[in-house]
Amino acid sequence: MAPNQHVLLSPAELAYLHEALSLTPPIRPDGRAPTQFRPLVAETEILPGTNGSARICFADGTEAIVGVKAEVERTRGYHGDDEEEGGEEKREQEREGQDEWVELTVEIPGYREDDASTAFLAAMLSEALLADGGFAKKLWINRRFHWKLFLDIILISPPLSYPLPLLSLTTHLALLSTRLPRLKSEGDEDPFFDDDWAAAPYLYPQGTATTRPPITLLVMAVGRNIIFDPTKEELAVADVVLAVSVGEAATDASSTKGKGKAPGRSLRLLSVRTVDPPSRVTPPGVPNATNSAYGIAASAQKQPEARTVEAQAVEGVWRAPRGGAKPAVMAALVQKVLERGGVADEVLDALDAVELG
C-alpha cells in the first residue's frame, strides 16, 4: 500500500512503462488521458448508525467506506462562569475550534494501524481537513460543550494502488452528507437537541456558497508529463509524486467582486506533501553488453561475479531516477491542479453531482 513499498516489477517492464509515459502525449497502460481518473461508483449515507457516511469503489474492486460519528464532549479549559456574558456578537467571536476535536483513523487491510504508511495517510488527510481552521469551528456548540467528530476511514479491499485519492474523495462525500442534530438549548446551558433527524442540519450547508471539505489529489510526473490518479504500476516509474490538497475558497463578497463572474471556482491550496516514489528502490536493468547470460558465447566470457555494475544510460534499460525533484516540475504539478477549470475543479463538480442520501 505504501508508495515506497517494494514494488516487484521487472526491469524490462519498468523500462517499457517509463518510455510509454514519457512520450507526448503519454500512453498510459490502461489508455487513460493524463488527467483522466478511473471511473468511480459512489453513494452516500450507506451506514444508518452514523451521522454521515459514503462509499466509493473503482471498477477493479478497490473500495473504501467512511463513517462519521459525532459525540458531545465537554470542552476542556472552561472554568465555570467566571466572566459575565458579553452579548451575542462576542459569543460568535468566541466560536473557535481545536484540532483535537476531530479524530481521524485510517484502516488498511493487512497493515497495522500504527504502521508508518497508514499514519502518514491519516496525517495527510487530517492535515488538509484542519488546514483552514474553519472545520473545527463548525463543531462548536457553546463555550462548555463541543462536538467531537470521529472519522473512520476503512479500505475494505486490498490496496491495489496507493489509496490516498480514493480515501480523500470518500471522506469528502461522507463529510458532505454529515448531519448533526439541531440544537434546541440556548447559551451555555447543557446542550439539548431536537430528536427529529429530518430537521438535523448538514455540517456543510448545501446550496449556499460556503466552504466544502478539501480534496487531496495524487499527482505524479514522468519527465515533463503530469499524470493524475496514477496506478501502482505508474507510480513505480514516477520521478516525482505529490499529494496536493485543495479546498474551495470561501466566496465572500470581498473576494468575488474583483473577479466578477469567472468560470470555475476559486481554489485554495491547503497543503502539499511529497510522497517518496517507489521508483527509487527499483532494481536497475542490465544492458545486453554487460549481461553475462546474454549472447551466443555467453559461457565463454563468463564473469565470475554475479553482481551487476550500473553503467551509463542505455536505451531500453531501466535506471532508477536519481537526485531530487526539479522545482520547476513541482511548481508545474501544483499549477496544473489549481488551474481554473482544471482537474480539481472538475473533480469537485463531479462530486457535487453525487446525490446525498
Partner: protein, 354 residues
C-alpha cells in the same frame, strides 16, 4: 471530462426481478423467519435467497442443507456435531444428482501439469527460484529446469549457481510450464523450450485465472501472435492459465538467429536444446509509438472483458480487439484507446450481442 462518478447499480436487477416474479409470497416468509433484520438495513441480495433456487450464492459457514440425502462435494464440509452440509467458500451451489458442491466466485489458481503460466520471481534461493503464479503457494523453478546459456545442452556448474541472479532476479517475469505437482498442490515449473523464458518489450496485467468466474480459461492456444491495427506490427500475447497476461511487441524468434550462426550444428532435432541468445536479456528493443498504443488497447480489452464478466481467450480477445479498433475509428477525440467504464460496457455489449 477527467472523472466520472456514477451511482451504484442495483444488485443483479434481472435476477431479483425474476425472484420476485416467481413467487412473492416467499419474500414475505423470509422476512419473518427469525433472521435479524435491523431497521433501515440495506436489503441484501442474500436475504432473498431461497433454498430451492437453482442460482443462489452461499457464504462460508452457511448451512446449505441438513437433509441427510445429499452428499457433500467440492467447496463444502460436514460439520462434526451435526450432519448438515456447510459451505466452505463463497460461491454458487451446483448439484449433480445427489451431490452438492459449491463453485467459488473467486478462487486462486490451482496448478495442473502442462499448464502454461506466467509468473514473477519473488525469491531467489541457492538452486532454485520461487515464482508467484497466483496459486496458494509459490511455485518453484529449479536451476536444473532452465536452459542455460552457452548453446549446447550442458550440465549446470557451480558457476551457474553462483550467478543465479543473472538468469532470473527478483521481479522478473517469465513464461513457463508446470512440470510436476507436489502432493500439497505446489508446482514445479520448467522453461526448457524456446517458447518459454524471460519476458520483455511489453506490459503485464493480472486478471483472475482458472478457478472461478470470468478470466482466462484453458483453451487450445494460450500464446499467439496477432497483427495489430494502425501499422503497429505483430504483437505477441501470452495468456497464462493462471490469469497472468503478457502483451508485447513481437520480436523475431531466435531460431533464425541461431540458424544463421550455427547452421551446421543446429538441426531440427536439437533446436529445442540450443538456447535462445536473447533469453535472459532485460533490455527492451526499440518499440514504436503505434505499437505502444496498440499494446495499451489490448490491455484495455483484457480488463474490459474481465470487468464485464466475460471469459478471456484467443477468440474473445481477437474479436474484442477488432471491435475496439472499430469503436475508436467511429468515435473521435484523442482518448481512443481508453476502454474503461462505459466504453468497456459498450465493448462487452457488442461482443455478447453477436
Amino acid at each position: 471530462m477527467p472523472i466520472t462518478i456514477t451511482a451504484p447499480k442495483a444488485v443483479r436487477p434481472s435476477y431479483a426481478a425474476a425472484d420476485n416474479a416467481s413467487d412473492d409470497s416467499d419474500s414475505d416468509a423470509s422476512s419473518d423467519n427469525g433472521a435479524a433484520d435491523l431497521e433501515g438495513d440495506i436489503p441484501m441480495a442474500s436475504s432473498r435467497r431461497k433454498e430451492d433456487k437453482s442460482y443462489s450464492i452461499v457464504t462460508p459457514g452457511e448451512v446449505i442443507t441438513d437433509d441427510p440425502q445429499w452428499m457433500r462435494g467440492h467447496g463444502t464440509f460436514v460439520s462434526p456435531s451435526t450432519s448438515a452440509i456447510v459451505s466452505s467458500v463463497a460461491g454458487t451451489i451446483t448439484r449433480t444428482n445427489k451431490l452438492l458442491s459449491v463453485r467459488p466466485l473467486r478462487a486462486r489458481y490451482t496448478p495442473e501439469v502442462g499448464d502454461l503460466v506466467v509468473g514473477r520471481i519473488v525469491e531467489v534461493q541457492a538452486k532454485r527460484w520461487r515464482v508467484d503464479v497466483g496459486a496458494s503457494q509459490l511455485a518453484s523453478l529449479p536451476l536444473s529446469a532452465i536452459n542455460l546459456p552457452g548453446g549446447i545442452l550442458r550440465k549446470r556448474t557451480e558457476t551457474d549457481e553462483l550467478q543465479i541472479r543473472t538468469f532470473f532476479a527478483e521481479g522478473d517475469l517469465l513464461v513457463a510450464e508446470v512440470q510436476q505437482l507436489f502432493s500439497d498442490g505446489g508446482a514445479v515449473l520448467h522453461t526448457r523450450s524456446l517458447k518459454y523464458g524471460k519476458l520483455r518489450n511489453g506490459v503485464f496485467v493480472a486478471v483472475s485465472g482458472m478457478g472461478g468466474g470470468s478470466g482466462v480459461v484453458r483453451s487450445r492456444r494460450q500464446v499467439w501472435t496477432m497483427e495489430a491495427a494502425n501499422g503497429a506490427g505483430p504483437l505477441d500475447i501470452v495468456l497464462g492459465v493462471n490469469g497472468f497476461v503478457w502483451i508485447s511487441k513481437h520480436v523475431e524468434t531466435p531460431e533464425a538467429l541461431i540458424a544463421e550462426t550455427k547452421s551446421a550444428t543446429t538441426g531440427i532435432t536439437n533446436l529445442e536444446e540450443s538456447v535462445s541468445t536473447t533469453m535472459y536479456s532485460s533490455q527492451n528493443d526499440r518499440i514504436g509509438v503505434e505499437t505502444m498504443r496498440e499494446i495499451s488497447r489490448i490491455r484495455g480489452v483484457v480488463t474490459a472483458l474481465v470487468e464485464n464478466g466475460l471469459r478471456v481467450d484467443e477468440d474473445m480477445l481477437v474479436r474484442g480487439y477488432h471491435e475496439a479498433v472499430e469503436m475508436a475509428m467511429l468515435g473521435e477525440g484523442p482518448d481512443d484507446i481508453y476502454l474503461g467504464g462505459e466504453r468497456g460496457e459498450q465493448l462487452a455489449a457488442a461482443l455478447t450481442g453477436v
